[in-house]
């Protein structure tokens, strides 16, 4: 067990978390500035990022936290919180983070390349927070401590770190859609290990046998072939503060859909235009707030001519199913119909106003013209 594993685990999982957050923010078309704000907020608290102390050589020796979320918790998709030693993240996010890092650790060509993976994550974090010099300095400090502590380690020590991490990730076979799509993960949850491509830096392409005599002179060469199809690598990645890491593991795999090039296919062009148009708030959210406002009696709505602003709730997947269920429902199961009046009523409105008046409302948020935002502020005050 390597005691040096914990900082690497934190930094890489934290990096993956930021990639996922960034992708989610972009998918919901949150405008650029707000997204950056979210990431700047998340970056310092992303495990290990802004904690240079955690990487000092004299850090306390501690075993890795148990990675198991508990069978029961894992059975609840998307709900609940997993509490590990230092933070509480939703289950799905944790699963994504760990499977991504497991993939990176498993496919590292050399044990030492785990450091390049970590540097890739840190490089990306620095990019997310590039306009925040305060946090940027902290990340740079973490970077320097990492280089100071880990660069001098031997291959054997890195292999021990790698083995410790792999034991931590053992038996985790959660299927990740982006991995399945890219064919790097099989449908049984196991990762695809390629037997082709560049060999690690410092390794020779398999196939050659050299024989030496007792004087150390080479006397014979022989070759053997296997199913593998390896080639020599181009160059080694950089272990400095800045440099080309060469290795792609640890870079943002979600950024493939980033609409930066306008000459790409139609789908990404749509994304770009959508991103521009959606400065306005989500219309569904607006509707929800309007409905809530109506219930509270605080908003006058012009009803569209002839239209009804009510809604019908269908608990079945389709209307046909609902009809079919109604027809096949056994007679003996009688049920009462409950009428809920959600319309405005003077008496009720007065009652609600009185209740509102009694409640203590905290100081209002700095003004914004939108009625929707006022309502939010109101609710926050409650």
């Amino acid at each position: 067990m390597s005691a040096r594993t914990l900082p690497l685990l934190f930094l890489n999982l934290g990096g993956e978390m930021l990639y996922i957050l960034d992708q989610r923010l972009r998918a919901q078309s949150i405008p650029g500035e707000k997204a950056r704000k979210g990431e700047r907020g998340a970056a310092p608290s992303a495990p290990g990022v802004a904690e240079p102390l955690a990487v000092s050589p004299g850090m306390a020796v501690s075993p890795l936290p148990v990675s198991r979320c508990g069978g029961a918790a894992r059975g609840v998709p998307g709900h609940g919180c997993v509490s590990n030693q230092h933070s509480c993240v939703p289950l799905q996010l944790y699963d994504l983070m760990t499977m991504a890092f497991k993939y990176q650790v498993l496919l590292c060509p050399r044990p030492r390349d785990i450091l390049l993976v970590t540097f890739n994550h840190l490089d990306a974090i620095k990019d997310f927070i590039s306009d925040s010099p305060g946090i940027l300095n902290q990340v740079d400090e973490t970077f320097r401590r990492l280089i100071e502590t880990y660069n001098p380690l031997s291959d054997g020590e890195f292999q021990l770190i790698r083995q410790t991490l792999l034991i931590f990730f053992q038996d985790m076979h959660i299927r990740v859609s982006i991995f399945l799509k890219d064919k790097v993960q099989n449908s049984n949850g196991r990762f695809v290990l390629p037997i082709s491509g560049p060999v690690p830096w410092g390794t020779e392409v398999p196939g050659l046998i050299r024989i030496f005599n007792h004087k150390g002179v080479e006397v014979k060469r022989a070759e053997f072939t296997t199913a593998g199809n390896y080639v020599t690598p181009q160059r080694e990645g950089s272990f400095e503060l800045y440099g080309d890491r060469v290795l792609k593991l640890g870079t943002n795999m979600y950024s493939v859909t980033r609409p930066v090039e306008t000459h790409m296919s139609g789908s990404s062009k749509n994304l770009a235009s959508q991103a521009k148009e959606n400065i306005a708030p989500n219309p569904l959210a607006k509707e929800e707030l309007n409905f809530l406002a109506r219930l509270l009696g605080g908003l006058d709505i012009q009803k569209p001519a002839g239209g009804d602003s009510g809604f019908r709730l269908n608990l079945f997947t389709t209307d046909e199913e609902e009809e079919h269920a109604a027809q096949t429902r056994p007679e003996e199961l009688s049920y009462k119909v409950i009428n809920i009046e959600a319309t405005q009523e003077p008496a009720r409105r007065a009652e609600l106003s009185r209740i509102l008046g009694e409640l203590d409302v905290a100081e209002p948020r700095p003004g914004s013209a939108e009625k929707g935002e006022d309502l939010l502020a109101l609710m926050d005050g409650l």
Binding site: M1, S2, A3, R4, P57, G58, M59, A60, V61, L106, P109, R110, P111, S154, D155, G156, E157, Q159, L160, Q163, T164, L166, I167, Q170, D171, H173, N186, R190, F191, V192, L193, I195, V199, P200, G202, T203, E204, V205, P206, G207, L208, I209, R210, I211, F212, N213, H214, K215, G216, V219, A222, F224, T226, A227, G228, Y230
Partner: protein
């Protein structure tokens, strides 16, 4: 605890199951029912971040069990023919880096070749002659790559390295006799079939190779040829062992694999 090693140590009088871990060394009866002996590692003065563990197990000289440690020392235990009176007979301190593997001579050692080889993280190999006092016969310096596993047969040291290479050394002279670009990733396991001189290697590149070692009786040159390759799809091979002394069958284990895969002649 993490990644314990387990090995059967066959001595003339008894077979012991030896386990290593972070805390030390445990020895059990052959059926695993009784713990015969337990040795806690003496943690030397090292910075906190250094790992402490035992790694590398071999029976030597028909009387001893040798266990390596992460601080480079090799513990030599004197095993009585029966009973629990195991004693720490010697501590060999020639390695400066964590021990990775230890192997005893499985065939017939030529004169002066020694009967034990120890390997460490720096790739350094030490050749020993076992006895009341172990004697260091030679040291093969590492060349910057960890030697992850080692085997010894008829005076030939077979060493597997973290960069996927297998090297064959002459135990007596310490000279290199063969260099095999065997694997594309870290070699995890080497095993030797003493009856035939077959060598088995397993690595993270998903491959298991079988090689044939031999000696030319006239020139005394060491020969090696490739016999067979198996690819364990999508699996990083962590363990590989021959199941019989002739090397006709072998078993393979891998990371995240709950099965032991057995390979044999068709």
């Amino acid at each position: 605890s993490v990644s314990p090693q387990a090995a059967w140590c066959e001595l003339p009088s008894r077979v012991l199951l030896v386990l290593t871990s972070q805390r030390g060394v445990q020895m059990y009866d052959a059926d695993g029912s009784t713990m015969v002996f337990w040795h806690a590692l003496d943690v030397p003065d090292l910075p906190a971040a250094h790992s402490v563990f035992a790694r590398g197990i071999a029976a030597a000289g028909g009387r001893f069990i040798c266990v390596g440690t992460s601080f480079g020392a090799v513990l030599v235990f004197d095993i009585p023919p029966k009973g629990t009176n195991v004693t720490l007979s010697e501590v060999l301190e020639q390695h400066r880096d964590p021990i990775t593997d230890i192997a005893a001579e499985q065939g017939q050692a030529p004169d002066g070749a020694g009967d034990l080889v120890t390997a460490d993280d720096s790739g350094t190999l030490c050749l020993w002659s076992s006895g009341e006092e172990f004697t260091l016969l030679g040291k093969i310096p590492g060349s910057g790559c960890a030697c992850s596993s080692v085997a010894l047969w008829n005076g030939i040291v077979a060493a597997g390295y973290g960069n996927g290479q297998i090297r064959l050394w002459e135990a007596g002279s310490g000279r290199i006799r063969a260099q095999l670009s065997a694997h594309a990733r870290w070699i995890y396991a080497l095993d030797l079939a003493p009856l035939t001189g077959k060598l088995l290697s397993g690595a993270e590149d998903s491959f298991v190779h079988v090689w044939q070692l031999s000696r030319d009786p006239d020139t005394d040159d060491i020969e090696v040829r490739h016999c067979h390759a198996e690819c364990v799809t999508d699996t990083q091979v962590c363990g590989a062992r021959f199941c019989d002394p002739a090397g006709d069958t072998f078993a393979v284990t891998g990371y995240d694999l709950s099965e032991i895969l057995c390979y044999g002649p068709a």
